[in-house]
């Protein structure tokens, strides 16, 4: 998670005039903007700052803008990308969308089109960040559980009854009930269903990695 955030939107285009125009347009609605004329300088900055949206020209001086999303992923930059192109044909827009881009705009575009895309991008970014914030707090809560509490939680979520868990772990049924109550309290689960959902989220993220 970016600690310092100097800009919401990064604009990458080798044409300085267009960079400034887009910057001016976005600033007029109160966004913070940084412009870059090369893919490399953009990657270096984005690695630190993780912008909410990247506006990327397909044709950059000496490099292909379509390659940048892959490079961004390899550097763990998850900012949504909006491509802009001077001579966009169907083939190019298809390959742009295949890189995982959020949108593809042909120059010259209408201001509202660009602003809509940027807004969507920021929204998507926020949602993604909220989800990852939630997961982080879930993990913190999960780490406060004792080994016994975790075992009981896992078995309970898997559908075993208290009696079965007790015999499996060699505990009395009352002790299992206490551990179960403790686990639900610590995980801030209001109902047992909440606990199941939390376990699934934790399981998925440990399984697939986040």
């Amino acid at each position: 998670m970016a600690a310092i955030k100097s800009a919401d939107v990064f604009v990458v285009d080798d044409d300085v005039a267009l960079c400034e125009s887009i910057s001016s347009l976005l600033r007029s609605i109160g966004l913070k903007v940084k412009t870059f004329s090369s893919g490399l300088s953009f990657l270096n900055a984005a690695e630190i700052e993780h912008p909410d949206c990247v506006i990327l020209d397909v044709r950059l001086q000496g490099e292909n803008g379509l390659d940048l999303p892959t490079m961004m992923r390899s550097k763990n930059i998850d900012s949504p990308v909006v491509f802009i192109s001077g001579h966009g044909d169907i083939r190019m827009s298809v390959s742009a969308m295949k890189t995982g881009a959020l949108d593809f705009l042909a120059k010259p575009f209408r201001d509202q089109e660009l602003l809509d895309s940027v807004a969507m991008s920021i929204k998507q970014c926020n949602e993604r960040r909220n989800a990852s914030d939630m997961l982080a707090s879930l993990r913190t809560r999960h780490s406060t559980l004792t080994t016994r509490e975790r075992q009981v939680m896992t078995h309970a979520v898997n559908g075993l009854m208290n009696k079965q868990i007790a015999s499996l772990l060699g505990l009395s049924e009352v002790t299992v009930k206490i551990h179960r109550k403790q686990a639900m309290d610590k995980m801030c689960a209001r109902t047992f269903a909440d606990l199941v959902k939390m376990e699934v989220m934790l399981y998925d993220t440990t399984k697939y990695g986040s």
């Binding site: 400034e20 125009s21 001016s24 347009l25």
Partner: protein, 491 residues
């Protein structure tokens, strides 16, 4: 094989019978000579036998017969004639001399005959070689005698033209099988060979009796000329398959060039679009952001100022690019020099004939002698002509069933200017398309950009000329352009 053996045997039997008869006569004459009173008459008999000995054998046989006759003469003289007799020595001596002379003559005749047979063999062999060579190379030859118009055809020549039978075809047969449009060409080539007495070449089509068409290359040379007799030899080469593969090659190349042209054009368009789009995008975006800054509760004058400055700057950038583009366009590359249109038309004719043949189109060029010189860029005018003719040929697509003809005419207009027209026998141009023909990116063809005629117009108009098109229903399309004659307008 059997027949060869049989005929060999028959020959042997015949020769042996002849020899037997000769020996029999020699003995009969010996008896007559020995016992009869006919001294000199017998000499004639012996000489007669020697004279016909050549019929029944070779050199050795003739010598044997001669010496046999001589021996018998001497023998009968020694045995039966008394030494005192008046004719006893004169007659045998005369007989011997006679035999010698006749034997000598017969031998010589035999020798000549052998030589003749050898020559005939040689001739036969070289004739066979010639025939197989002609057959393998699809090359026939014809000789033509003037003024009798007698012709001699080689076997292969007859085969190429599809004539069978032993009779030599006549000049009228030859002319009848020639494609009607090439008729005059062949006739004038043959006449030229006869009149100018210098070698000539031509290529023409013939139509066989089964409607097949062949392309024939003719190379002719006058071979003999006396006061009132002339002979020309013509070699006829069947070049149909060679021309067909050449045509296919040419077609592939044309297609490739076409694809390349379209691709290059697309590249150019893409790069121009990029160069224009970039400032245009900046202008639009700046203007819109300026509006947004203006419409804020407190307008930000500094930002509005910057945005407007960018608008001005980027507009200038775009117009500078367009100016640069114009400077690199046709206009700046044009060279003006006196140009004779007939040269351009002739070189175009050479190039286009092949393409026309591949598409089975008859193309003809008519260049009037009084066409004026014009001041022009040779290559650009060539481009215009090629473009118009290729367009016309394309209008006669391979499926077009009517007359397939393109006529190019170069002439002098009433005002003294140069006028060139290209007319085709295709389906013509639809009325609503006629106005749009010369506008860029208008095309009725697939995979075309539609700038050919637009470029033609810009070239012709830059030369101070005019270009226009017309079309009559069912009479094809006609494209014309005119260029001012040299000295009338300077470009």
């Amino acid at each position: 094989m059997t027949t060869a053996t049989d005929s060999g045997l028959a020959y042997f039997l015949r020769a042996s019978a002849k020899r037997g008869v000769m020996i029999f006569f020699m003995l009969v004459f010996f008896l007559i000579d020995s016992i009869g009173p006919f001294d000199f008459v017998v000499a004639v008999f012996y000489i007669g036998v020697v004279a016909i000995s050549g019929e029944a054998g070779d050199r050795r046989w003739i010598l044997r017969v001669a010496s046999g006759c001589g021996f018998l003469t001497v023998l009968s003289c020694l045995l039966f004639h008394e030494p005192g007799s008046r004719y006893s020595l004169e007659a045998p001596l005369a007989t011997l001399i006679g035999i010698c002379i006749v034997a000598h003559l017969v031998l010589e005749k035999k020798e000549t005959k052998n030589q003749l047979r050898f020559q005939a063999d040689l001739l036969g062999r070289s004739q066979a070689l010639l025939e197989s060579t002609q057959n393998l190379s699809s090359t026939g030859s014809i000789s033509l005698l003037f003024p009798s118009m007698d012709m001699h055809w080689s076997v292969e020549a007859k085969r190429i033209f599809g004539f069978d039978g032993d009779n030599s075809p006549l000049i009228s047969d030859l002319l009848r099988s020639i494609h009607p449009n090439d008729h005059d060409l062949v006739l004038s080539t043959i006449q030229g060979l006869y009149r100018q007495q210098s070698p000539a070449e031509a290529e023409f089509r013939i139509i066989l009796s089964d409607r097949r068409t062949k392309i024939i290359r003719l190379v002719g040379r006058p071979t003999g000329l006396t006061d009132d007799l002339a002979e020309i030899t013509m070699v006829l080469i069947d070049v149909t398959s060679a021309r067909e593969s050449e045509d296919r090659f040419q077609q592939c190349q044309t297609e490739l060039a076409n694809i390349q042209r379209v691709m290059t054009f697309n590249e150019i368009i893409a790069s121009i679009a990029h160069e224009v789009n970039q400032p245009l995008a900046a202008v639009v975006t700046s203007a819109q952001s300026g509006l947004r800054w203006l419409n804020r509760p407190t307008p930000d004058i500094a930002e509005i100022d910057l945005a407007l400055l960018r608008v001005v700057e980027q507009t200038n950038r775009a117009s500078a690019f367009m100016k640069n583009l114009r400077e690199h366009s046709l206009e700046s590359a044009r060279v003006a020099e006196p140009v004779c249109i007939s040269e351009i038309l002739k070189s175009a004719e050479l190039f286009l004939k092949r393409e026309a043949r591949a598409s089975q189109i008859d193309i003809s060029f008519h260049i009037n002698n009084d066409t004026p010189l014009v001041s022009a860029d040779r290559h650009q005018i060539q481009h215009v002509i090629m473009n118009l003719v290729v367009n016309s040929m394309e209008s006669l697509s391979i499926n077009y069933g009517g007359i397939r003809e393109v006529i190019v005419v170069g002439s002098r207009s009433v005002s003294g200017d140069l006028s060139v027209s290209v007319r085709d026998s295709g389906a013509g141009i639809r009325g609503e398309d006629l106005d749009k023909l010369f506008t860029p990116f208008f095309t009725t063809k697939i995979n075309r950009v539609g700038v050919g005629l637009a470029i033609c117009r810009s070239i012709i108009e830059a030369h101070g000329g005019r270009i226009w098109a017309g079309s009559e229903r069912h009479a094809g399309a006609i494209f014309n352009f005119s260029l001012p004659q040299l000295g009338k307008v300077s470009i």
